[in-house]
Symmetry: C2
Subunit: 478 residues, 2 copies
């Protein structure tokens, strides 16, 4: 709106004021941006973002009313929490409802998340927050007494076990309606990888049909409305780079419970550049997850796994898809670390789901892969989701070679992720990295450490420039 | 920038990414807003805000480079503080430097401020933060061994003592270079009121000349670059509505010390709708202020004052100016509460500045008002600042009358402020409220409680509408 318009003047609205915009019988809260008289906006006009046009559902020229946004009552709870008071279920519900209604600014969101890091959420608060996050979203229901799911805490590049786990578990008669995210800061999310193999934008009806027919799916979670508060919290946590146990647990469990799961396997990679850095921290997290989950009748199995280096060879949507295909098809040279890790997780799911005795799940999972049942199931799921397709291949492939002879001593997961993103992943589906070495490998000078895959020469140049500037993506010990 | 441009794609920039924009030999950090192809922006173009154009000093068509903003090292200190670790001077300096350089987003700012509320800043941290805030701004220097200042903690409508205090103090030979703020959420700041009487946009050279000639000034602080971090923190604290003692002290003291003050009188209004609500809280605040100030060689005198109702009769820039003029000119009917409060504060300044013995300052201040010296000094200061002028008067004046007979039992300061703003203050200089009653007054039905002053009929209507909808601006007890 114009700084000099009568509404801004009389309401005392200034830049970044929170305003309530009403029009077409709907209303939304927005942040006000002000413009001087630039010839584009008349004194009685208001310009809206694309999102606001959509939410109000009005056309250009329609009448809109702009006033101060009403006071947000739940902010009193946030302030109480800042000053060290614990919050109960009604208070947390009030906060989550206002968050999902878009009433919180970044300042408010950051304050709530910081307060729950400064004085960590206790078990009651974590459970109440989880419950509140479930309540504000949709909830899926299934005609099965056992519905399994898996989750990985903290990303490891290339850790694309999900499609393999779903195929193994569904082959053995369990229901596993898996929804996954797209990459936000990583070079690929499960949904990005899966999309190179089959459609993943399933609405709830299609998703239900696929699961009813095949026992499992691998869909994008964004198309269904599960735990919408989580997406908002996660964005701010990422900007803060503050990860708290309570928020993490509420995030994971609210998604799983909303998806209708009864049993969940949780993969906790532990390593120096992973999210969880010690076995003690992993144990503590596992205990708390299990305790909160049990309040909602959700059975969990937490597994500590190796988080010291990437899994498989590909990093990037299509490159990870090729690894997944190789394991499912029992191709010669399929990455064994990915196969074993998927079998461990699938084995745990088979055990808690009652399809394998304790200690026998891993063997059953490997067997399901070896005899081709998992591959057949995966093909069937892809068909049900809209048809299987071949992942794209990059035009530009360029090696990064060893500057000297030595043993691979350390691999920096974060720098690898950045390199893959500069090469174009995840937007460019074929782009990313193909790893040629693993920790402990003895490498000669000039041998490739990895290959960069890019769809354009510009993106290849970006990646190569970064690699040249950054020395220690892969450390060689002489 | 366009979502589909090669920089966004290859750098992995998404909406609200923090970016570094370089051009014309300068650089700035900015938040990225993305647009689809809307015919306005080409793939290799970037649109800048007015502020960004100014900061870079480049012209349309110039070349600019956009990359990811570099990592902000001081955020590690913010995270440590969130997790309960105290910060030392170098850490706080790093934070304040990055804040002033515009590298912190709202999320980062809110996290820092929330963390210092959840675990309150201790005396060392408060002092170190104060020091850091002083170091990043300009600092004024004066050829005087005693430089006095005053500050009011937490606004009370109409509490416009500053011009009177400066006139009294300067009349008695003390140096008082007063810089004040414009209103942000209130109906008038001291700078807004003073601007109706004389120019206040003084640059440092003019400000120095005025003070050298007259011993005092009443200028807008925004034109000088004192404690720039404070303005940023204050905006976020206001949005959070969280006020912490440590931040308050660092804010006030960094401004005063940057202004070159050696002695400061601090007015702490205490009342049910004031910022400080109990005498205990006021005492604690006073002790801490004095302790931190002494580390910087700054002498302070903290005064607890009555914060239960507005001071004077006017609320709004010009209406408050008329009260100030009435007191300075000894006009019949000048508001006695404003006169006495200004004399109390000026008296304390005269005492700590060595111009009155202990206990004699108040009398000297009243005398300086009574014999016309303060008025002469005020006229001289106005002339030196660019010439005295008459405050404007509103065209539309409308009474708000008592709905029934009764005694004035309570006055809601916040609702009065809102009413004055709806009437157009502070943008409309003549707009605001003229109070006709004070606490304890016996009022007959139909008698005016206050008059609303407005420059336009639209703004008058806004104010009247609010008054009609909101019952308890002034409570009458029967």
């Amino acid at each position: 709106m114009r700084t000099d318009c009568h509404v801004c003047r009389s309401e005392g609205l200034s830049a970044r004021s929170q305003v309530l915009v009403s029009g077409g019988g709907r209303e939304l809260q927005a942040t006000l941006f002000q413009v001087e008289d630039d010839g584009q906006l008349a004194l009685d006009e208001v310009g809206l973002s694309e999102t606001a046009w959509e939410m109000l559902g009005i056309a250009e020229g329609a009448e809109a009313r702009v006033t101060h946004a009403p006071a947000i009552e739940s902010l009193a709870s946030v302030r109480r929490r800042i000053y060290g008071n614990r919050l109960d279920a009604p208070a947390l519900t009030g906060i989550v409802q206002d968050v999902v209604a878009g009433r919180y600014t970044d300042v408010h969101l950051a304050a709530f998340l910081t307060a729950s890091a400064a004085l960590p959420l206790d078990e009651n608060e974590t459970a109440d927050l989880t419950g509140a996050m479930i309540a504000v979203g949709d909830r899926l229901q299934w005609d099965a007494s056992v519905v399994v799911d898996k989750h990985c805490v903290g990303g490891l590049p290339g850790n694309r076990t999900t499609p393999i786990v779903v195929a193994i578990v569904a082959s053995n008669g369990l229901v596993m309606p898996k929804t996954s995210s797209r990459a936000i800061t990583s070079p690929a999310g499960t949904a990005d990888t899966m999309e190179t193999l089959a459609p993943v934008d399933l609405d709830i009806a299609t998703l239900k049909r696929v699961v009813e027919t095949e026992g499992g799916c691998i869909a994008w979670g964004g198309a269904v409305h599960l735990s919408p508060a989580d997406d908002i919290f996660v964005r701010v946590e990422r900007e803060l780079d503050v990860d708290t146990e309570g928020q993490l647990i509420a995030s994971v469990l609210s998604k799983k419970i909303s998806a209708g799961s009864t049993h969940v396997v949780i993969d906790i990679p532990v390593g120096p550049t992973a999210k969880v850095r010690s076995e003690d921290a992993a144990s503590h997290l596992a205990t708390r997850i299990t305790a909160v989950a049990s309040r909602f009748g959700l059975a969990t199995r937490c597994l500590q796994t190796d988080g010291s280096q990437p899994i498989g060879r590909g990093i990037g949507p299509a490159l990870e898809a090729f690894d997944v295909l190789a394991v499912l098809r029992n191709s010669p040279g399929a990455p064994d670390d990915l196969r074993r890790r998927a079998a461990v997780l699938a084995g745990a799911a088979l055990e808690i789901g009652g399809k394998a005795e304790s200690g026998k799940g891993f063997a059953l999972a490997l067997e399901t892969l070896a005899d081709g049942r998992a591959w057949k199931k995966f093909e069937a799921i892809c068909e049900a989701q809209g048809g299987m397709r071949a992942p794209p291949k990059a035009i530009h492939v360029h090696p990064l070679t060893a500057p000297h002879t030595g043993r691979v001593a350390q691999i920096n997961n974060r720098k690898l992720s950045r390199l893959a993103k500069l090469a174009g992943a995840p937007t460019a589906k074929a782009a990313g990295i193909h790893m040629e070495v693993r920790l402990g490998d003895e490498i000669n000078r000039g041998q490739p450490l990895l290959h960069i895959h890019a769809e354009t020469t510009g993106e290849l140049a970006y990646a190569l420039d970064y690699a040249a500037r950054t020395g220690d993506i892969i450390d060689l010990e002489t």
